[in-house]
Symmetry: C2
Subunit: 219 residues, 2 copies
DNA sequence: CGTTAGTCGTTAAAGATTTCACATACTTCA
DNA sequence: TGAAGTATGTGAAATCTTTAACGACTAACG
């Protein structure tokens, strides 16, 4: 439908949801305009980077003025497909899975966990955070056309479940298990490895001491 | 004490805990040697990148042989300070905080959540995953010399708590709230923004379709 | 209406990271 | 012992990302 604009750098793409969220905040606060500098202070991304990021989408701002919040927000809403909701399945209703179900990413968000699966009989049929929990044996049958899955099963089960998800036609998996799963090249997996994030932070603290001069940077 | 080797690239540093974990797995399985190619298949990082990463620490392998698992493991154990345990505090014993406390990053890990804080009177004095929950009012008093904090409070409370943590002498914060907190430049904050990770995955699925040819890459 | 202060979009430079490709050196096996 | 096979470590190239700098333009105000 749309002409696919020349592809945005990945680093930029990862920042878009962040921009969108803060734009939403500003809009809620009734702000009419914003500069790259202000946004920079809020999201902790260099203002030149923000301008560069925005510029991949064309000229969204006005020189000497900044950006119109309403306009920018509606532009990103379209770009990030915030109008259509992406349906998500969650596999593994344990500690982490339960937390996600209770949260359900509902604020300013275009994603919704619609169904959950677990192997533990006790959980089947219950609702967690308003989402029904189905038996993992019914995965293929009940997944329907859901294309994104959050994986929060024990790591020993991760590859097996991933294989089944792939067979059932999934496109993307957000993998919270420490297992590095293998999938066909047409399926996208993002790993969020919380233990590693914590270890990495500790490593940076020991080996990359920050001094008073240099500014800390994120992620 | 040690001569600080020329600083390792940040991208490399973030992969070290991953390597360490898989080396541990191999060791447990009784494997004696491993090649960069094998490791690559396991952790889904290009083998040249692995060799390059390792090479920053000197010549750890042997040409024509590969790497000795035991040696490599013990080397990384030292490098990653796996022998000393870093004590961690968790602030906000809600959905996410409870999940982390129950998990407590105990496997192959050099970190331990030792104390938790919450504002909700009902939780105070209880134990979650073997960790005592203290009142947030006692933060400064009970934090002691803990230098790392996990932040899982509502985003509205994030900046206030961060300020208190900084005053109490914290060095690093793993921030799970959507708030981008401000801290002095000598404190390191890593943001893990789960809602954004999910949105970014959805964005990539729509705008960066993977075909049969190209390999998906991580995170 | 002209001046001042402010801000974008972009060119170019710098910096960081990944990947290629191969000389070198070790292992294995006959 | 020698030949064949294997896999490292790294120089050089390619790619990706961030940052600096500034010309062009706007808004606001006296
Ligand atoms: N909880 C944390 O803080 C944390 C931190 C880092 C990583 N992780 C990882 O996240 C994953 C989940 O952690 P958790 O603490 O929620 O574990 P958990 O044991 O509490 O939950 C796992 C859930 O998966 C279900 N399950 C097991 N096998 C299944 C299968 N074959 N199909 C469907 N469901 C199945 C179990 O019944 C359980 O409800 C693990 O891989 C863990 O390593 C968790
Ligand atoms: N749960 C998720 O899946 C999820 C996903 C993405 C982001 N987050 C973010 O993580 C954070 C925590 O989420 P959650 O679902 O666990 O929320 P939650 O409401 O379940 O837990 C927050 C906890 O913090 C405590 N608290 C409130 N104010 C406090 C204060 N001033 N000092 C100390 N404790 C205080 C509350 O008593 C509660 O126990 C939030 O910022 C949320 O946006 C959560």
């Amino acid at each position: 439908m749309d002409i696919e604009q020349t592809k945005i750098p990945q680093a930029t793409a990862k920042r878009l949801p962040l921009y969108y969220r803060f734009l939403n905040n500003l809009h809620t606060q009734g702000k009419l305009r914003v500069s790259s500098k202000e946004l920079s202070d809020a999201v902790k991304v260099d203002s030149a980077t923000i301008r560069r990021d925005f510029s991949y989408f064309g000229a969204l701002g006005k020189k000497g003025y900044g950006y119109n919040v309403e306009y920018l927000l509606s532009f990103f809403r379209k770009t990030l497909d915030q109008d259509e909701t992406t349906r998500v399945a969650l596999i593994g209703v344990g500690n982490l899975g339960t937390a996600f179900l209770n949260y359900n990413f509902t604020k300013n968000n275009n994603t919704k966990i619609e169904i959950a699966f677990d192997a533990n009989e006790e959980r089947i049929g219950s609702e967690v955070g308003g989402v029904g929990v189905e038996h993992i044996d019914d995965l293929e049958e009940k997944l329907g056309d859901i294309s994104v899955a959050i994986l929060t099963v024990p790591s020993s089960a991760a590859q097996g479940i991933a294989d089944r998800l792939v067979k059932a036609g999934i496109s993307g998996i957000l993998n919270f298990t420490p297992a590095r799963i293998s999938v066909p090249s047409n399926v996208r997996v993002h790993h969020i490895d919380l233990a590693i994030e914590l270890q990495a932070l500790v490593y940076f603290l020991k080996h990359y001491p920050l001094n008073e001069e240099e500014m800390e940077e994120d992620q």
